[in-house]
């Protein structure tokens, strides 16, 4: 279960993949997908053909091999090294963010984690969100307030609201999340939530239109977060916040990732062209110490540097507290 609603739902070594479970099929670090396990089901990818029936009864985290050779993954049959394989992972909100179908631009882990922490969400909280979008943040909000809290999420696009509702149902989150079709900018949040929300999250084109409604929904000292890609939106939103909100802070957060490789650098001495450290090896091979060719000291040849590609910007996050 993506977010356990009782102790039986959590990940453990004792749990086994069952029909109806959602697994995240991990092909490579940048190639994953969510698959609903069903009897007779088949997954076909570059590594081969995989039968769901082979998965049932195995623990999450298992490595499974294709039942027939795949196109690009080596043509050998069976479980030999050249046979294609994938890993079957238990779904989490983080993995879901990486595999869900994008109906809109989504929030990623850096923004999501800061939002959950800064909104001070704990189990039992009630949080309002608009717009739902593709449900990336919504899923993490659900985890934060489970098992007894609630996420009430609103989107003005009926079809997207329906798709999100279906996703949440498939992921077992329906008891935590209610999806409603509503134009929050035009109508504000519904009266039934007045004074009931511990936190509110806005990802709207014109969030300043919704701010007055937010001030009615939040409990005292409750936290608002507004996410906007453009600084002009941020300025207008902050202006609207000043009368009822305090502690207004705006951030941007990005992740810089690093790549690691086992390698050697050319020696810099004038005379020799000696290579320092072991020769570059394929990552798969594990050589116990002492067998490195021609090298007696155990020097680390692990090189690390930042990745050259990175996200430059997602949006600005503005947080504020309702004045007491």
């Amino acid at each position: 279960m993506m977010v356990p609603l009782d102790p039986a739902g959590k990940l453990s070594s004792q749990r086994r993949i069952a029909e109806g479970d959602t697994v995240v099929v991990y092909e490579r670090h940048d190639a994953m997908r969510a698959v609903a396990v069903r009897a007779g089901g088949v997954l076909q990818n570059r590594f081969g053909v995989f039968r769901h029936d082979d998965w049932v009864g195995r623990p999450f985290g298992s490595k499974v091999h294709s039942s027939a050779g795949g196109g690009g993954g080596g043509g050998k049959k069976g479980g030999g090294k050249a046979g294609g394989f994938v890993h079957l992972l238990a779904p989490t909100p983080e993995l879901w963010t990486l595999v869900l179908s994008h109906r809109t631009q989504i929030l990623y882990i850096a923004d999501i984690s800061l939002v959950v922490a800064y909104l001070e969400l704990v189990p039992g909280c009630v949080v309002l969100e608009s717009g739902t979008g593709s449900g990336s943040l919504t899923t993490s909000l659900a985890r934060a307030v489970a098992p007894h809290g609630r996420v009430h999420t609103f989107d003005f696009h009926e079809q997207r609201a329906t798709s999100a509702r279906e996703d949440f149902e498939r992921n077992g989150l329906s008891s935590l999340i209610t999806v409603n079709v509503r134009d929050i900018q035009g109508e504000g949040f519904p009266e039934e939530h007045r004074g009931a929300a511990d936190a509110v999250f806005l990802d709207l084109p014109q969030p300043w239109l919704a701010i007055p409604s937010v001030s009615l929904m939040l409990k005292q000292d409750g936290v608002l977060c507004s996410f906007s890609p453009c600084i002009e939106q941020v300025q207008r939103a902050c202006d609207a916040m000043r009368s009822c909100f305090t502690d207004i802070r705006t951030f941007e957060i990005l992740l810089r990732t690093y790549e690691v490789r086992d390698g050697s650098l050319n020696s810099g001495t004038a005379n020799e062209e000696a290579v320092v450290g072991p020769r570059p090896q394929k990552r798969k091979k594990f050589t116990p110490s002492g067998e490195n060719s021609g090298c007696t000291e155990k020097t680390s040849s692990v090189l690390v540097r930042p990745c050259s590609t990175a996200k430059g910007h997602t949006g600005y996050l503005t947080f504020a507290r309702l004045r007491v």
């Binding site: 039992g124 098992p147 798969k284």
Partner: protein, 488 residues
């Protein structure tokens, strides 16, 4: 195993109660102090300017409320007080457009002659009973250059004078966010320089949520254990494991106002015990023996113990657990916690309080129940089911072999997040995990956080910025079937 807790009273307590831990924010973050509003709160004081104020007025007040310093001590700010703070930054032209500023500072000379009031004049005003705001107005009226300043400069001037003559105290609720930020700002060595975005990433990447069985190595004072317990909300468990025989201090969990349920979910166990369970398959008899006597052992019995464990960690920061009620600390943060023995002369009924699971009454004694040694049944359960999450926050430690010892304790497909201050140890660790195939989805990330000032015509990133919040190595543990695994 355990049924979920019944739907609790509001998830977030909105008022300060007797016995709770509070965070006082004086003058907009200039000074930050943790206090515990013990039953004898009238004895606790905070020094503001040159006035010593009792904390009693804080009890029962809503979190987020502002106080000013009145003749007899702290007084809640009225709406009028609050609006005088607010007006300046919202002053715009009628149609919402800011009027173009025509003034500049070409003729302003900083030679200390602009203010006509002397410090004696101000003292006289104070003796006559003038309020801080009245003094500020007088200073503005007596400044020959005030009128020549830009409107932004006038606002800045007024705020500066207000801070000095009319200080404001904000009653903040301690949460993972505010506790982390406070330590990071005022006493970062104590929490391994962990910035709030890094902490929040650790919690997400390790999938901390309800019913998690989280394994944590916390050498950052308890900041992480407390944050995990907060996210568990009384379900699941957090096993805080430690190297060697003596646990490192996790006193910071006392700031979190954890309920009895939440605190009872925190257990401490030496890594040796967890690992030997894994290997031998039997609960060691040594563990049985020690657990008898230690089930209700509180975390830090005396300040000497605290000092010792701090010294062991090699912290150079002044110990902030000392009972210094009103003195200013060399670092700009105070933590005022009376020693545990004195908090409640009668400590016996803790077990019955635990069953009630409600927040009325004293919370302080509940926090003593945290950190107990796990029962043999619990240890067995963890051995059979594995932990569902791992967070390592040992920024001064070597990680490669530590992680190799910890990963086998996780169930397969369990995510983990490792925090460190240095890149190379994480890179070596990541490489070793790739080679041994104990994990997939490995990634080293460094979060970058920038704050902005957003004001009409004055929007820009803050001038000062923190450049480094630490590195995180994250991944998912898998069942390793075919590669050769070296024995440690």
């Amino acid at each position: 195993m355990d049924p979920p807790p019944p739907s609790p009273s509001p998830a977030i307590p909105r008022e300060a109660w007797e016995g709770c831990s509070v965070l006082l924010d004086i003058n907009d973050g200039d000074r930050l102090a943790f206090f515990r509003l013990t039953p004898a709160a009238y004895l606790l004081t905070v020094k503001i300017g040159n006035k010593t104020c009792s904390l009693q007025p804080l009890v029962g007040r809503p979190f987020g409320s502002l106080f000013r310093v009145g003749a007899d001590g702290l007084v809640p700010c009225t709406a009028a007080d609050a609006s005088s703070l607010r007006d300046d930054s919202t002053r715009d032209g009628d149609d919402g457009q800011v009027q173009d500023e025509t003034r500049d500072n070409r003729s302003l000379v900083d030679n200390n002659t602009a203010q006509n009031l002397s410090s004696d004049d101000i003292e006289a005003m104070k003796r006559d009973g003038a309020t801080g705001d009245e003094i500020v107005e007088a200073l503005i009226a007596n400044s020959s250059t005030f009128g020549k300043k830009t409107v932004f400069s006038q606002e800045k001037y007024k705020l500066k004078k207000q801070k000095k003559y009319a200080p404001k105290v904000l009653l903040r609720r301690p949460t993972a966010r505010s506790i982390c930020e406070t330590y990071f700002k005022k006493s970062p060595a104590r929490t391994g320089f962990m910035r709030v975005d890094t902490l929040s990433l650790l919690l997400s990447m390790a999938n901390i949520g309800p019913y998690s069985d989280a394994l944590v190595v916390d050498m950052v004072g308890g900041l992480v254990v407390g944050a995990v317990a907060e996210r568990l909300g009384g379900t699941g468990y957090v096993c805080s494991t430690y190297l060697g025989k003596k646990p490192s201090s996790i006193d910071i969990i006392r700031m979190y106002n954890l309920s009895g349920d939440m605190a009872s979910r925190i257990a401490q166990a030496p890594l040796n015990d967890l690992c030997s369970l894994q290997n031998s398959g039997n609960t060691p008899s040594v563990l049985n023996g020690s657990s008898q006597g230690e089930v209700t052992k509180p975390i830090a019995v005396s300040t000497e113990d605290t000092q010792l464990s701090l010294a062991q960690q090699g912290d150079t920061v002044v110990s902030d657990e000392k009972q210094q009620l009103s003195a200013e600390q060399p670092v700009d943060m105070e933590v005022s916690e009376p020693p545990l023995e004195e908090e409640h002369p009668v400590q016996d009924e803790t077990s019955s309080l635990d069953n009630k699971g409600n927040d009325d009454g004293s919370i302080a004694s509940r926090s003593l129940k945290a950190g107990k040694t796990p029962s043999p049944e619990k240890m067995k359960y963890w051995k059979e089911h594995g932990f569902s999450s791992l967070i390592v926050a040992a920024p001064g430690n070597e990680v490669e072999s530590l992680v190799a010892d910890l990963l086998p304790l996780l169930s397969d497909s369990a995510p983990f997040a490792i925090y460190h201050q240095y890149l190379q140890p994480l890179a070596t660790c990541m490489h070793s995990l790739q080679v041994s195939k104990m994990a997939i989805g490995l990634q080293i990330s460094e979060p970058w956080l920038r704050e902005y000032q957003v004001l009409p015509s004055r929007t820009h990133p803050h001038m000062q910025m923190n450049a480094f919040g630490g590195y995180i190595l994250s991944g998912i543990k898998i069942h390793n079937t075919d590669a050769v695994v070296a024995n440690k």
